[in-house]
Symmetry: C2
Subunit: 222 residues, 2 copies
DNA sequence: CATCCTCTCTTGGTATCCCAAAATGCACTT
DNA sequence: AAGTGCATTTTGGGATACCAAGAGAGGATG
C-alpha cells in the first residue's frame, strides 16, 4: 500500500481515538518525523483528511477538527430520515443471512468486553443496517455521520443502564426488520436516534468543563 | 487564493461542464502544462477532487470519474427522505424573505435563458431549499447529490414540456412551504424527485449509445 | 519597566529531482 | 503476418530544495 494511505489511516486512527486532541495543531514537520516520511505523502494525507473533515485549516496551519457539540442535534435530525428509510429498505432487501451476521455482531459484545469493542460495535451496527438498504449513498452518509459522532461517543460517560438500553434498542430494530414490520422498525429507529442524542447531550454538556481542561477544543452548545 | 484551490476549481468546472469527458485519463504532466503550475499543487487538487469523487484512480492513473447511470435510481432513493425532511423543516424555519429569494431565482429563469442558466437554477433550487432546513448536513448531502447528478443532466435531452413540468413542480413545492403545509410540500417533493428520475433515465438510456460514441465512459444500467 | 522595532527561525507553498514500475514500441523470431 | 521479448520512454510516488510570510525572541528606546 502506498505510504500516503498508511499515513492517512494511522493519522485518522489517532484522531478518532483522541490520541490527538481536538483542536490540536499539526505541523507538517512534526508529522514528517512522527511518520518517518517526507512532506509529500503527508500533505496528501492531510488534504484527504480535510475532505473527511477530520482535519481543518486554521489560517495557514493544520489543526485536528474541534468537536462541535452543536452538531449533535443536527446530526440526529440528519440521521433520522436516512436510517428510517434504511430499515424500511432493509425489510424488503435483506436476506436472513445478512440479519444473522448483524445479530452475531451484537452477541459478540458481552458485558465483559473492552470499551473499544462496545464503541466499535455501536457504530458498526448502524452502518451495517444502512448497508442492508442496498443504497451506497445512504451507507456513505451514515458512515460519515457515525464518524462525526465517534469522538463525542468516546467522551460520553457510559452508565450500565444506558448502555443496556441502547443495546436493547438495537435488538428491537433488528427484530422488527426480521419480522418484516417496516413501520415498527422505522419507529424504533427514530426513537433510538433521539434517545441516543439525548443521552449524549446530557452527558457531554455536564462534562464540558472537564473536557476543556484536558485541552480539547469543544465548541458549540453555549 | 492558493494556486492549489485555483487549479481545483478550474479542473472541477472542466469536469462538471464535460470539457473533460467522463473516463478520460488525466496525466499529472499534462495538467502541469495545462495549468502552468508544478505537480505539487496539481496533485493536491487531484486528491481533493478524488474526495469529491469527481476524479478517481484507475490503477496508478488518474481518470475523470465515469458517469454511472446505475447511480441515478439510488440517488433518487437517497434524496427523497432528505428533501422531504428538508421541506418539512423549511415550513417551520424559513422566513418570508428566504422564500421570496428562491422565488426570484425561479423567476429569473425565463424561457429565453441560456441552457447553462436552466441547468444551474435547476440544481440551486434544491440546494437552497435544503438550506432553509437549517441543517448543514442535509445541505451538504443534497449538494453532493446534485453534483453527482449534474453531468447526467447536461446529457439529458430537454424537451420544452418536460422542462415546464419540472419548473411547475418547483413552484408547487415552494408554494406549499409558503402556505405552511408540510405534508403537501413533502408529497410534492417526493413526486418531483421521482418524476425527475424517470425523465432522466428515459432520456439517457435511449441516448447511451451516442454518448459512448462521443468517447464518454457511461456505465451501468445494462 | 513597558513598548516598539527588528532580526531570526519556523512554517506552509511551490518547484524540482530521483527512482521504480509500468507502458510503449521496435526488432527479431517463427 | 502474428507473436514475443527486450530496450526505451513515460508515469506517478516520494524526497528535497527554495522561498515568502508570519510568529516570536531579544534588544534598543522611551
Amino acid at each position: 500500500m502506498s505510504q500516503m494511505l498508511q499515513i492517512h489511516d494511522q493519522l485518522r486512527e489517532m484522531i478518532l481515538s483522541l490520541d490527538l486532541g481536538p483542536g490540536e495543531r499539526l505541523t507538517e514537520r512534526w508529522l514528517e518525523s512522527r511518520f518517518e516520511g517526507s512532506r509529500t505523502p503527508i500533505r496528501a494525507a492531510l488534504v484527504r483528511l480535510e475532505g473527511e473533515e477530520l482535519v481543518r485549516r486554521d489560517g495557514r496551519n493544520w489543526i485536528v477538527a474541534p468537536i462541535d457539540l452543536g452538531e449533535l442535534a443536527a446530526l440526529a435530525e440528519f440521521r433520522e430520515p436516512l436510517e428510517t428509510t434504511a430499515v424500511r429498505l432493509a425489510c424488503q432487501r435483506a436476506s436472513e443471512a445478512d440479519l444473522a451476521a448483524i445479530e452475531a455482531m451484537l452477541d459478540a459484545c458481552q458485558s465483559g468486553a473492552p470499551r473499544e469493542e462496545w464503541h466499535r460495535v455501536g457504530t458498526d451496527f448502524h452502518v451495517e443496517i444502512a448497508r442492508l438498504s442496498g443504497n451506497p449513498f445512504i451507507v456513505k452518509a451514515i458512515e460519515g455521520a457515525m464518524t462525526r459522532l465517534s469522538r463525542a461517543r468516546w467522551l460520553e460517560v457510559w452508565t450500565e443502564p444506558s448502555r443496556e438500553q441502547a443495546w436493547a434498542e438495537h435488538r428491537r430494530i433488528l427484530g422488527f426488520i426480521r419480522k418484516n414490520e417496516p413501520d415498527a422498525a422505522a419507529r424504533e429507529a427514530s426513537e433510538h436516534i433521539r434517545d441516543t442524542r439525548d443521552r449524549l447531550l446530557r452527558s457531554l454538556t455536564d462534562d464540558r468543563r472537564s473536557l476543556r481542561a484536558r485541552g480539547f477544543a469543544v465548541i458549540g452548545m453555549r
